[in-house]
């Protein structure tokens, strides 16, 4: 018999929406994510384009639904290790790292953070903020239960074996140093891969001064800088404490290196300028782009609106971030071939989107292919965009290549449609038999 249960890998918008729809249809879902929270990349954004809706407000109802849905068994800090079997009868092995905080007992009061003696950079905040060894990634994270990083915690890394500051501060007996990593096994009939994407490492791209000049930010760093729940509570303050007056947003960073257009950067860059102009009305904001790729029925309007706010859009042929009297300037060649310079105190780099770092290993475990650029391959891009070519395993969202939120959700819903109709799989089987 075809096992109706489903494994969903990745708790971003695609994975969450698929899980909820499956549960609504009466299916049991096992949802895993490698992080300590659900919500994916979307919850890092203050607002999403083009309607500038608050991203966390938009996602939090579905996060809540998901956490309370008794048909969805979710496991965080968890990764897929091994898959055996075939469509309808997969056995999956999942490794789960200890959280060291009980999800049942913790009420999310945060009383444990303050006494913790260890403070480290917070990767969720793109290292612009600090966190304790016991922490939630950001205010409002769901589930609202902290996790202890065993590498940072003095008790768990052995540097101070008797430290129990967080445990002592907890009034609900939620801190549990005795938790250990575990391996779990599940039987499922179908698998959805929705692990999302990563951003290209900017350090090797020396022309852009990332890591050299403190005023250079990645797009994701800027998102956190702008976020009300971010490290500066939404205040646009540079690393040197100053408020920027002259800002360049550079598109297509790494496009040449990866060999493709990511399709989303033009729009999110425009959004960043929109943000900048909304908080710093008088700032000189310039977008340096190549081809403007703004597909979608509402996007051009948003671009024009941003332009009307006084943001200049400049098409460049070549571009470089250079030092200038202790500050920076953008040296660029414009469309007509003229060499120009623009002094700036902040540069935001919109870099290429690349495959999630787990893609290679996951593809191997699942026995599915990757495309030339490293994303999960689908059977084809036109008529079978969510089928992996292996029966019972599907891909949705950015795991298969850059996509915006609506496209990711639409793909997740398409996968659910295929999983819910057992006939669909059987049709494919018949086709396979006849070949």
């Amino acid at each position: 018999m075809f096992n109706p249960d489903v494994l969903v890998i990745g708790a971003g918008v695609a994975g969450m929406q698929a899980s909820l729809l499956l549960a609504q249809a009466g299916r049991k879902v096992v949802l895993i994510d490698k992080g300590p929270l659900i919500g994916g990349q979307t919850i890092k954004f203050e607002e999403v384009y083009p309607n500038l809706e608050c991203a966390t407000c938009m996602v939090s109802p579905i996060q809540q639904d998901l956490l309370q849905n008794n048909r969805i068994e979710w496991h965080l800090l968890s990764r897929l290790e091994k898959v055996t079997g075939a469509a309808g009868d997969f056995t999956v092995s999942v490794s789960k790292k200890a959280r060291y905080v009980s999800l049942e007992n913790c009420i999310g009061c945060d009383a444990c953070f303050e006494p913790c003696p260890v403070e480290v950079n917070n990767p969720f905040e793109e290292n612009l903020g600090r966190k304790k060894a016991i922490s939630v990634p950001c205010p409002g994270a769901l589930p609202n239960v902290p996790a202890i990083d065993p590498n940072d915690c003095l008790r768990l890394n052995g540097k101070k074996k008797d430290c129990s500051a967080c445990k002592d501060a907890c009034m609900f007996d939620a801190v549990d140093f005795d938790q250990s990593d575990e391996t779990m096994e599940f039987k499922v009939g179908s698998i959805l891969v929705a692990v999302g994407y990563d951003m290209l490492d900017l350090k090797p791209l020396t022309d852009f001064g990332y890591g050299t000049f403190p005023g250079v930010y990645s797009a994701m760093e800027f998102e956190r800088l702008f976020a009300a729940n971010g490290p500066t509570e939404g205040e646009l303050i540079l690393r040197d404490g100053k408020i920027p007056k002259s800002i360049a947003v550079v598109h297509c960073v790494g496009r040449k290196e990866v060999g493709y257009c990511s399709g989303l950067c033009c729009m999110y860059s425009t959004k960043l300028s929109h943000f900048l102009k909304s908080k710093l009305h008088d700032a000189d904001v310039r977008e340096f782009h190549t081809d403007l790729c703004i597909p979608g029925k509402s996007h051009q309007e948003f671009y024009l609106e941003t332009k009307n706010k006084g943001v200049q859009f400049i098409r460049y042929r070549s571009i470089k971030v250079n030092g200038r009297n202790g500050g920076m300037q953008i040296d660029f060649e414009d469309e007509a071939g003229g060499k120009k310079a623009f002094p700036v105190d902040m540069v935001i780099l919109s870099q290429a989107m690349i495959p999630h770092p787990d893609t290679e290993k996951l593809a191997e475990s699942l026995g599915i292919k990757r495309d030339k650029r490293g994303f999960f391959a689908t059977q084809d891009l036109s008529l079978s965009p969510v089928e992996t070519g292996k029966d019972g395993i599907y891909v949705a969202g950015c795991a298969g290549g850059p996509k915006d939120i609506p496209e990711s959700v639409a793909q997740a819903e398409a996968v659910v449609g295929k999983i819910l109709n057992p006939l669909y799989a059987r049709i494919e089987e018949q086709e396979g038999d006849s070949q």
């Binding site: 809706e53 009034m171 060999g259 257009c261 051009q300 036109s382 008529l383 079978s384 959700v409």
Partner: protein, 443 residues
């Protein structure tokens, strides 16, 4: 019947008593009309808390419950389950948020306490008015109507149809397949060809649970999610069929912007200026030729026709124009192919290599925000550049018109009560998170 309301204040550890004087709150609430019992508890959402509530419901024979605690988003469902499990209607319940909205917001304890009293009083007044709601089951059908037999409608029907769910596709044209029936081929770099499409089409036609009504239109709809009554009428007005379906998929496709509106492109006036769909037909039939029957020596592909007027980028035109360029170079390797574009929109990672291959084959890419076409002694002159200063002459021009809503959109929207966006496309229930549902349930 007399009401016996139980009011319970959750401490949530130190979260609430640190900021609100719970004993004062209890004192103020006690004695209110219909209020039978007012108590505090350490952590109501815990297993001990739930057991305490269950015991209270039984012991005090309560009829209504008010809980002052965290946000209902956190634990409304938790407490409603407790009521249900202990014989109370779960809707005779009101949660009052004194944590997120009071304890965590108001630094002054006196003020927070007073506000807590007011909020709980309001909760009590409200719960008195609650009705004991019950969930009803009504007859409904799982069958689905799909409007439009293009690739979207076909894929939807195949995903949905089965022994327990019959699907009816209503297609206004004589045959199933929609736009792809006229296509010269899919984008080869996307890894598939039209045989897959033909296979899906055949599967629909052979499917025992899919009914295909061609040359037909939906002319009336009544009802709601689970029970839509739909009238389908043959185009000749002849036969009428009534369908009973639970949900409707609208996949009515698109239309092309009327390029004739824009004099600068000379469509309809200049010979050998044609639209992309006409060129698709030429490619499909294999006769890529000028009006005089000669093969073209030079062809220009003009992107973004109507983009400015419509106010959006249609996303697919750059790619299919690239497809045309490849086809032309294969067919006429010595011929000249020019692409006039504003911005190249190649949003999928696989697209860039396809573009680079076209460049390798010698396709000329010319960026121009202005393009004007003129008669030039049997040829077509193209003026381009900011001041239209650049000139070139070609035998044939293929215009890539913007995609606009299909002509049936407004009528269907009206029939189904679906709002349209400013461009005339159907609006989604939620642009981001529910992009394929309309605001009308079940459609």
């Amino acid at each position: 019947m007399s009401k016996k309301i139980g009011v319970y204040v959750c401490e949530c550890g130190p979260n609430i008593p640190d900021r609100i004087d719970i004993d004062r709150v209890i004192e103020k609430i006690t004695g209110m009309e219909d209020v039978d019992v007012v108590k505090r508890f350490g952590l109501l959402c815990s297993n001990d808390g739930k057991k305490f509530l269950a015991d209270e419901i039984k012991k005090e024979q309560l009829t209504h419950i008010v809980i002052a605690a965290c946000s209902p988003r956190e634990h409304e469902a938790t407490f409603m389950h407790v009521l249900e499990d202990n014989g109370l209607n779960p809707y005779l319940f009101q949660m009052v948020n004194i944590r997120e909205q009071l304890a965590w917001m108001i630094p002054d304890k006196e003020e927070a306490t007073q506000k807590a009293v007011k909020s709980i009083r309001a909760g009590i007044q409200r719960v008195i008015l609650h009705d004991a709601l019950s969930k009803k089951e009504i007859e409904s059908t799982p069958d689905v109507l799909v409007i439009g037999g293009g690739i979207s409608g076909i894929e939807a029907a195949l995903s949905l149809a089965g022994p327990e769910r019959k699907v009816t596709i209503v297609e206004k044209k004589e045959s199933l397949g929609g736009f792809l029936n006229a296509s010269s081929g899919l984008l080869p770099h996307q890894g598939t060809d039209l045989t897959v499409f033909e296979g899906k089409k055949q599967k629909v036609l052979d499917h025992e649970h899919i009914q295909v009504l061609t040359s037909s239109r939906v002319t009336d709809v009544r009802g709601f999610l689970g029970n839509f009554e739909v009238t389908v009428t043959k185009n000749d007005g002849g036969s009428i069929q009534e369908l009973h379906v639970g949900a409707v998929v609208i996949a009515s496709g698109f239309a092309s912007f009327d390029a004739g509106q824009l004099a600068r492109f000379g469509y309809g006036k200049l010979e050998n200026v044609i639209l992309a769909p006409e060129f698709e037909n030429m490619c499909r039939s294999g006769n890529i030729q000028l009006k005089n029957g000669e093969p073209p020596q030079s062809v220009a592909l003009i992107h973004c026709v109507g983009r400015e007027e419509k106010g959006y980028c249609s996303k697919v035109c750059c790619l299919y124009s690239l497809k045309f360029a490849h086809l032309l170079k294969e067919r006429f390797p010595a011929g000249e192919v020019r692409e006039y574009y504003q911005d190249l929109c190649l949003p999928h990672p696989a697209d860039q290599a396809y573009y680079e291959k076209a460049v390798e084959k010698g396709v000329l890419f010319i960026r121009s925000d202005q393009v004007e076409l003129k008669e030039d002694g049997g040829k077509i002159q193209i003026l381009s550049g900011h001041q239209k200063q650049d000139k070139a002459s070609v035998d044939m021009v293929v215009l890539a018109p913007a995609l606009v809503p299909s002509e049936d959109t407004a009528e269907l929207a009206d029939m189904f009560n679906i709002p349209l966006d400013k461009h005339g496309f159907f609006k989604a229930a939620h642009e981001m998170l529910d992009p394929v549902a309309s605001p009308v349930e079940g459609v």
